[in-house]
């Protein structure tokens, strides 16, 4: 086995220290990314399905791209069966313009109790909870001064607990089809 002298060790030490520092920073970043998508070992999945159409007056040009939200689905995945989400809240907000240029505003709030292992799903997943808003095609106005608040956004929050019932904190997922990104 090769034995290092004191001088060679002194040369290697800064390089090793640098590598260690880089590794620690890198791992920290990777953990941060993971924590953004999975908190308290529970992940929420929010999927939005929509149809699209151009709401143009002339019929010759293509502008005012409009969305009609057909449905949303929400489900939860837990990494360990020691976690639970006893209650979750869902908020869907529509501030937009209909195809006849009339403003449209709706806000839908609901709460639900995610059930892991129900309806034939594995114990780590809940079923897909579906909903449909019945909203019309909506687009965002060209001039934000005319309609200062416009968005099509969805927010899903849930409280994660341990099996003992001890609360670990909230998880939050947002989906913004158009408009500003809301904070959780």
């Amino acid at each position: 086995m090769l034995t290092l002298g004191r001088s060679r060790l002194a040369m290697l030490a800064p390089a090793v220290a640098l590598l260690l520092t880089l590794a620690l920073v890198g791992v920290g970043q990777a953990d941060l990314r993971k924590s953004e998508e999975t908190k308290h070992r529970v992940r929420q999945v929010l999927t939005i399905q929509y149809s699209t159409k151009y709401c143009d007056r002339s019929g010759e040009r293509f502008f005012n791209f409009a969305y009609k939200v057909n449905s949303w689905s929400r489900r939860w995945r837990r990494r360990t069966t020691g976690r639970d989400v006893p209650e979750a809240r869902f908020l869907a907000q529509a501030f937009g313009v209909r195809c006849n240029e009339e403003p449209f505003q709706k806000r839908v709030e609901s709460s639900l109790r995610p059930c892991f292992g129900c309806d034939g799903t594995s114990r780590r997943w809940t079923p897909d909870y579906h909903g449909s808003p019945g909203w019309p095609y909506l687009y965002s106005p060209e001039d934000p001064m005319v309609y200062p608040v416009w968005a099509l956004r969805f927010k899903l929050t849930g409280t994660v607990t341990r099996r003992s019932g001890r609360e670990l904190g909230e998880i939050c997922t947002t989906v913004t089809l158009y408009g500003g990104v809301p904070g959780c």
């Binding site: 086995m1 090769l2 090793v16 791992v27 929509y50 969305y67 209909r98 158009y178």
Partner: protein, 259 residues
């Protein structure tokens, strides 16, 4: 005393850790990075069914980058990586020979690797498609062949006619709606699966023509689980002298869609 072998192993371990962390640690990549934009990885969505996969070449560093494409004789599906959940404005279009295809709908998904949006476009024929967003070409899609018309196991009854089957079921409805097809800007319709608690089948508008008894409406829906589809026509938006008039329809009907 320190020896070279353990130090060497430590250095290799450190290098591996750095590499793992900077490359996303097992698939967890930063959805907003330029690397993500130029190497968008998106699996085919479940609803793509038996659609044939194409080869996608993302040609620019646009942050809205195509990652997967598939098509059959009813629809062309292109999956894009997005930097966040906001849908791109302008929306990407497909150039199919001389024709421009605009999205008819889509599905936004949050995945472990970031945000994915699957746009649905009407069926395309060309082997080479260009993906354009605004003035910028953001990708090219190649398919091995033209989608062959598949035998359609589904049928319906007048005034509904099944046009084609695939990832979507394309239907033509000889509706009683008395509008001039050239003046119809949009029809707001819901298609619902009667067998699944009236779950939406995502009505996709494919255009209108004038028919002998009213408007001929062509649309696509996701294949229903049951054999009956309910149709709820809510509004028509009709152009009238530079204005658009909203007409409340209240038309309710249902039709058989079975093999």
């Amino acid at each position: 005393m320190l020896t070279a072998a353990p130090l060497g192993r430590l250095a290799v371990l450190c290098a591996c850790l750095v590499l793992a962390a900077t490359t996303g640690c097992g698939g967890d990549s930063d959805p907003g990075s330029d690397a993500e934009a130029s190497h968008c990885r998106a699996p085919l969505p479940e609803f793509a069914g038996e659609a044939r996969r194409g080869t996608v070449d993302a040609t620019s560093g646009d942050r809205v980058s195509p990652g997967v494409a598939a098509r059959d004789n009813t629809v062309t599906i292109v999956g894009f990586c997005l930097p966040d959940s906001r849908l791109p404005n302008p929306a990407p279009v497909l150039e199919d020979g001389g024709r421009v295809r605009y999205p008819i709908g889509g599905e936004l998904q949050q995945t472990s690797a970031g945000w994915r949006n699957y746009y649905l476009y009407p069926a395309t024929r060309g082997r080479q498609l260009t993906v354009r967003r605004g003035e910028r070409v953001t990708g090219r899609i190649s398919f091995a062949g033209t989608p062959a018309p598949a035998a359609c196991p589904l049928e319906s009854d007048p005034p509904f006619e099944v046009v084609s089957c695939g990832s979507l079921v394309v239907i033509e409805w000889a509706s009683p709606l008395r509008f001039d097809a050239r003046r119809v800007q949009a029809l707001d319709v819901d298609a619902l699966d009667e067998a699944r608690d009236s779950r939406p089948l995502n009505y996709y508008d494919l255009g209108y023509r004038d028919g002998p008894g009213g408007l001929l409406v062509r649309f696509g829906i996701r294949p229903p689980r049951g054999d009956r589809v309910a149709l709820r026509a809510n509004f028509a938006y009709v152009r009238e002298g530079g204005e658009v008039r909203e007409v409340r329809l209240g038309e309710r009907t249902s039709f058989r869609l079975a093999g």
